[in-house]
Symmetry: C2
Subunit: 234 residues, 2 copies
Amino acid sequence: MAMPLDRSLISGLPAFAGLAAGDLDGILAAARSSRFAKDSEIFAQATEAESFFLLLSGHIRVVRTTPDGEQVIARYINEGELFGIAVAMGQKNYPATAVAAVDCVVLCWPNAAWPGLQSQFPAFGANAYQTIGSRLQDTQARVVEMSTQQVEQRIASAVLRLIQQSGRKTEGGVEIDFPITRQDIAEMTGSTLHTVSRLMSAWEEEGIVRSGRQKVTVTNPHALMLVAENRRRK
Amino acid sequence: MAMPLDRSLISGLPAFAGLAAGDLDGILAAARSSRFAKDSEIFAQATEAESFFLLLSGHIRVVRTTPDGEQVIARYINEGELFGIAVAMGQKNYPATAVAAVDCVVLCWPNAAWPGLQSQFPAFGANAYQTIGSRLQDTQARVVEMSTQQVEQRIASAVLRLIQQSGRKTEGGVEIDFPITRQDIAEMTGSTLHTVSRLMSAWEEEGIVRSGRQKVTVTNPHALMLVAENRRRK
DNA sequence: CGTGCGTTTGATGCATATCAAACTCTGTGG
DNA sequence: CCACAGAGTTTGATATGCATCAAACGCACG
């Protein structure tokens, strides 16, 4: 794209908080933007990391595939977040695959630009490191969850996180604002689509959620919190 | 401690690779060293992070405790590793508790020294970030493991990791060189001490390990790898 | 020599995976 | 515009891995 990117694209993002207008222009000068159609791969696990990314719009699913083909969803990326920042962790290859959950627009920098950006705009680097740090915390919290809680609580927690981070208010509830299947939720929680389906049906009976094909709406977040904490009276 | 620390303490450590002798002195000038007796806490989960650390000798167990008192071992820290580096992740509090698994000696820097060290010795900062990055990868790999493998494979993988990272060669095998209980291994793998005990007894029958009170020796690492990959003929 | 912590082993139960099959959208092509 | 195909979902029946409950054992240390 020959057209220079406008700084208003990123000026409001937390990743760029505290940077001057001129700094933003400098950072954008090294970037280019691209579109990715729904279900296309932005990068693939184990391939050489050549770029790092920022999601401008859409939602991205980050997936790890095991040697025998099982998939685990590491996380969803929301608008405004950095992803694929292997370069900041000193990793040569991408540790996972990134797939567009809907049509997406991303900013993309060549890894070669990282050292310069990092030293020239320390606040930018610090934000990236903070992103990595909070992902480490999230991931460790997930290990604790998988070690100590049972499936129903884990699924409830996962759905709550999804609506907190990617929720869209509608009449009668908060909806996950990208298409998500029972299988996806199973891959986020170490469970199976059958179990997810059964539990969601039960929650629907209780008036906690409403759900359909690739769609989940939480109608009673408080009740779902009680489920997550295993405090609901059955 | 009034006595200046000698740079030979850290010159051989990977965390300080590529730093000049003068740099090492500068880094050490901001540090002090302390001893921690076996089973004492170096820092506690959720308390304000005031310092970051480097383990000079011994072994440290990093533990997360849930609201209802269950414990999960996040990792073991080996000699030469940084730990408690909340400051590098922009976290105000320690996310876990660090306990000396044996008597330990650690270097300790006040968090206030971080920005200066980071900017003055970029290689030092880069090493810290790489440490965080590889811990994120490890933790994500653990999530995948917990999602896709069953207990026997997870325990076998955990024991293999322990002997790779903290193994000591003895006659007849490689031994984990700090005291570790069945309960500890259970807390690393999301299992119970009963299950760990049963499996280790079975492995001992098969001549894969020898184990006793707070002690595990792997006599046949290859066979244990087969167990970890679920390839052993039963 | 006793006391307690770590370990072993057996019996039982349950949460959740697995196997199986039918059902229902939703988008597509004739 | 309708019919079909395929993907996603639901629901039932069965199986099983591992936790839980329970008790005894043995070594190490005071």
